[in-house]
């Protein structure tokens, strides 16, 4: 399937041996090894919190290692800072790009090392050389375009060009696909393959297994900060990797749904938001998981934010048969409605505050007596949540910013389970979360429905929608265009409604 593997291994560029790193209270890495050859794509696989980021930060000089050694072309080297890594020819492209948004493409590519002619910057050379690098990547971007005007995919290409310009021999890419849409993914793959052909070693981080099989020659799996295995991709199956990564099988990820739907919990009629949502009506029953599918921008998030009282809207709604008119999230919460937002860090968490505060913020009145927060009550509540949801944290006083995506999401769930939530709305509940935590979150959702909680789940991942939903609404351009029962739903059926095939009669 892969041409490069057949060409045989290039010479060894990088060897990391027995790398260890300790943060106060946490052993982040222990005995981790990684070997990368010239012209090899080496995937680094592991759940969030497995230590991938820490390892590459050590490699790029952002962190100092506590144990182990690093060999570059067989010789021991010390990487004390980003300059050392760069001098060796190691470049890292993080998820958050390191680009001057106001600067042009050429300026970014040559940032800090503009060619000079006497005392003046030699723009001609800089622009010509930038053009050449971009052409090598097949990127049709003007070298004079301001970076802020480029799409995310184009910015990524600028980052790669910048790395190439620095005579990079080993390129580390931290989840490069996470920021890209489907269409841009294939382009990224082509770029990675062409870099590989040029003899550059690539460390490719992703937790999407499909990409690893499409791109990588070898894969190293980490789990809980420890080295698990290094395998040739040709020798393993997807299930093997999942097992190495999370210690169980993939098919067990979705719980078997067997909760009978109860009475109607939420009824929405003629929900409208100017230009965003047109006359949407739907209902959710107690104990039911209702999926909302559709392409990004189809109005799904706008609908649920209105139901949560977060945005102005007009609608006739009832909760448990009683009129429901939320004018603010506070009203919604009082009626038992909760929203897990799509943007966990921007709209959900208080990153600089601890697990306890994040958990009890909405339920604070329930642990308050006489106007004073009772520490004992609060701790009891938080400890129960940490136990019930299996939140991995050294203590309730641990800052949320230092937790993995899956655990952060559990903290948000803990917040809503601390108030009497009857309807839980989850917008992309497992985005950016590793497979293991995903399974746990599905499990929690299933448990909740058994207690009579109704769930609305927005998801762009079709397997997730199909695997979890009892009923699916499909949205397009601000309206509901289809409703599918669990048995009748398939990826094809959903896509037909979502993109607007001729069969899309309103459901």
């Amino acid at each position: 399937m892969r041409a490069a593997t057949a060409e045989g291994p290039g010479k060894v560029l990088l060897e990391m041996k027995g790398i260890g790193k300790t943060f106060p209270g946490v052993k982040a890495l222990q005995g981790v090894s990684l070997t990368v050859r010239e012209g090899q794509v080496h995937a680094l696989l592991g759940e969030n919190g497995a230590g991938k980021s820490t390892l590459i930060k050590i490699l790029s000089g952002a962190y100092a290692k506590d144990e182990g050694e690093i060999l570059w072309e067989g010789k021991p080297v010390a990487i004390r800072g980003p300059e050392d890594a760069q001098a060796l020819g190691i470049s890292t492209i993080y998820q958050e790009f390191n680009l001057g948004r106001q600067l042009t493409v050429a300026e970014n590519i040559f940032l800090g090392q503009l060619p000079r002619k006497g005392f003046r910057v030699d723009w001609k050379t800089a622009r010509a050389r930038s053009r050449e690098l971009l052409d090598r990547l097949g990127a049709r971007i003007s070298v004079d375009a301001k970076v802020e005007r480029l799409s995310v995919a184009e910015q990524q290409l600028v980052e790669i060009a910048k790395a190439l310009n620095r005579k990079t021999r080993l390129l580390v890419m931290d989840e490069p696909s996470a920021v890209l849409g489907e269409g841009d993914l294939e382009r990224l793959f082509e770029v990675v393959r062409s870099l590989q052909q040029q003899g550059i070693g690539i460390v490719y981080i992703s937790h999407r297994l499909v990409e690893i099989f499409a791109l990588a020659d070898e894969v190293t799996v980490l789990k809980d900060g420890r080295y698990v295995a290094t395998k040739r991709v040709a020798d393993v199956q997807m299930d093997d990797l999942v097992r190495l990564m999370i210690g169980r099988d993939l098919k067990d990820v979705y719980p078997r749904r067997a909760t009978p739907a109860g009475p109607v919990l939420l009824e929405v009629k003629n929900l409208r938001r100017p230009k965003l949502v047109h006359d949407v009506s739907f209902h959710v029953r107690a104990g039911e998981i209702v999926g909302f599918s559709g392409i990004t921008g189809s109005g799904r998030t706008e609908v649920v934010r209105a139901v949560f009282g977060a945005d102005p809207h007009t609608a006739e709604m009832t909760m448990e048969g009683r009129p429901y008119r939320p004018r603010s999230p506070k009203d919604a919460i009082r009626s038992g409605v909760a929203l897990v937002t799509e943007d966990r860090k921007g709209q959900g968490l208080f990153l600089k505050l601890n697990v306890a505060v994040n958990t009890t913020i909405s339920a604070i009145r329930s642990v308050t007596r006489g106007g004073v927060i009772r520490r004992a009550k609060e701790s009891a509540l938080v400890e129960k949540m940490i136990r019930d949801l299996r939140i991995k944290t050294p203590s309730a006083r641990f800052l949320v910013v230092n937790m993995s995506g899956g655990n952060q999401q559990k903290v948000i769930l803990a917040r809503w389970l601390s108030v009497h939530t009857k309807l839980l709305i989850m917008d992309e509940p497992t985005r950016g979360i590793d497979v293991g935590s995903k399974a746990e979150i599905y499990q929690i959702m299933d448990e909740l429905t058994k207690r009579g909680v109704g769930i609305i789940m927005i998801s762009s991942e079709l397997p997730e929608v199909l695997g979890m939903s009892d009923r699916i609404y499909v949205m397009r351009e601000g309206t509901i265009v289809g409703e599918l029962a669990r048995g009748a739903a398939s990826e094809e059926a959903i896509m037909k409604y979502a993109v607007g095939g001729e069969l899309a009669a309103a459901g």
Partner: protein, 329 residues
């Protein structure tokens, strides 16, 4: 924090700084103690009850201004108007009695009401018009400044005895302590308790950390912000009262540096200017650090211009330690 695994024997320097991040109050307290030890070795007059009482009196006004400033900064804002709101309240409280013959208690109430009005305006402009607090309070700073000048340019010396109360002293042993000092400490304790142990305190931190998340968690962020700016303004009014008690006059030339001096105390106390992280008691310690340095340098015969210079160095040092201890988080 429990240790999950054994740590390596020789932790690098940054680990010490990181651990400061977990106990942010330790840094300022350590600095304060070290400063006291240093000045005690430099001057035998430093370590005395009377001198400490004097230091406290000297920090009372800025210390009280800094309570409101801390609340505002915890929400991610900043209040440049605080010193002038204090000045306006203090000339009104004294002037309405001296020039208009108003009952002194009523005059105090009017002064406080003006503070409340300024606080509501600050909060409202920030919340509902969406202006950055820097701009809003820069504007209200100038407005309050000019209102003071319009009202009076002369120092009001005819102060009713009731307003001198906070300058009066009682004795513990041989040391005289002003009621103003006690008032400031009581205010700190109240603020500490509210921030630490009430839903309102939690809301302040939550709004400061992430306003949108706070709204979606069911907090009325607008109400919280208006309340914070208003309560802060009340603390400026109380600072005005303490100022009158301490000086014995209503001074229209005061308060212009109140904003920067109070921000200095907040920063020295380890509160982040980005909001959501900080400790009110740190601010008290921060104010005391400034007071101890001024007093100690004075005793060493070092002039006031150098004292300000050293305050500047302290701010930069404190901010650097804070930055290093939170880097990478």
């Amino acid at each position: 924090m429990s240790t999950v695994a054994t740590t390596s024997p020789a932790p690098p320097r940054t680990d010490f700084l990181r651990s400061l991040g977990s106990f942010p109050i330790l840094g300022p307290v350590a600095a304060l103690i070290l400063a006291c030890i240093f000045f005690a070795t430099q001057s035998d007059r430093f370590l005395s009850g009377a001198n400490f009482s004097l230091i406290l009196q000297q920090v009372v006004v800025v210390g009280t201004l800094a309570i409101g400033q801390t609340l505002v900064i915890l929400t991610g804002g900043i209040d440049l108007s605080n010193g002038m709101i204090m000045a306006l309240s203090s000339v009104l409280m004294t002037g309405l009695y001296a020039n208009s013959g108003m009952d002194p208690y009523l005059a105090v109430l009017v002064g406080m009401a003006v503070c409340v009005a300024f606080g509501v305006v600050n909060g409202w402009l920030h919340t509902f018009i969406g202006l950055p607090p820097f701009i809003v309070t820069l504007g209200t700073y100038s407005i309050a400044y000019s209102l003071v000048r319009i009202y009076t340019t002369a120092t009001i010396t005819d102060v009713p005895p009731a307003l001198n109360f906070f300058g009066d002293t009682f004795r513990i042993g041989s040391t005289a302590i002003t009621y103003g000092t006690v008032a400031m400490i009581v205010l700190y304790v109240i603020a500490w308790f509210v921030l630490r142990s009430t839903p309102a305190g939690r809301a302040v931190y939550a709004v400061g950390d992430n306003p949108e998340a706070a709204r979606l968690a069911g907090i009325h962020t607008g109400r919280v912000l208006i309340a914070v700016y208003t309560i802060a303004a009340i603390s400026y009014g109380i600072a005005g009262l303490l100022l009158v008690g301490r000086m014995g006059v209503g001074d229209p030339n005061t308060g212009q540096n109140g904003n920067l001096e109070s921000i200095t105390a907040v920063v020295l106390g380890g509160t982040s200017l980005l909001g959501g992280r900080g400790y009110i008691m740190g601010t008290l310690v921060g104010a005391l650090i400034v007071g101890v340095f001024r007093n100690g340098l004075q005793l060493m015969g070092i002039g006031s211009n150098y004292q300000v210079l050293i305050t500047g160095v302290l701010v930069i040092l404190a901010a650097s330690v804070d930055y290093l201890s939170h880097r990478g988080k």
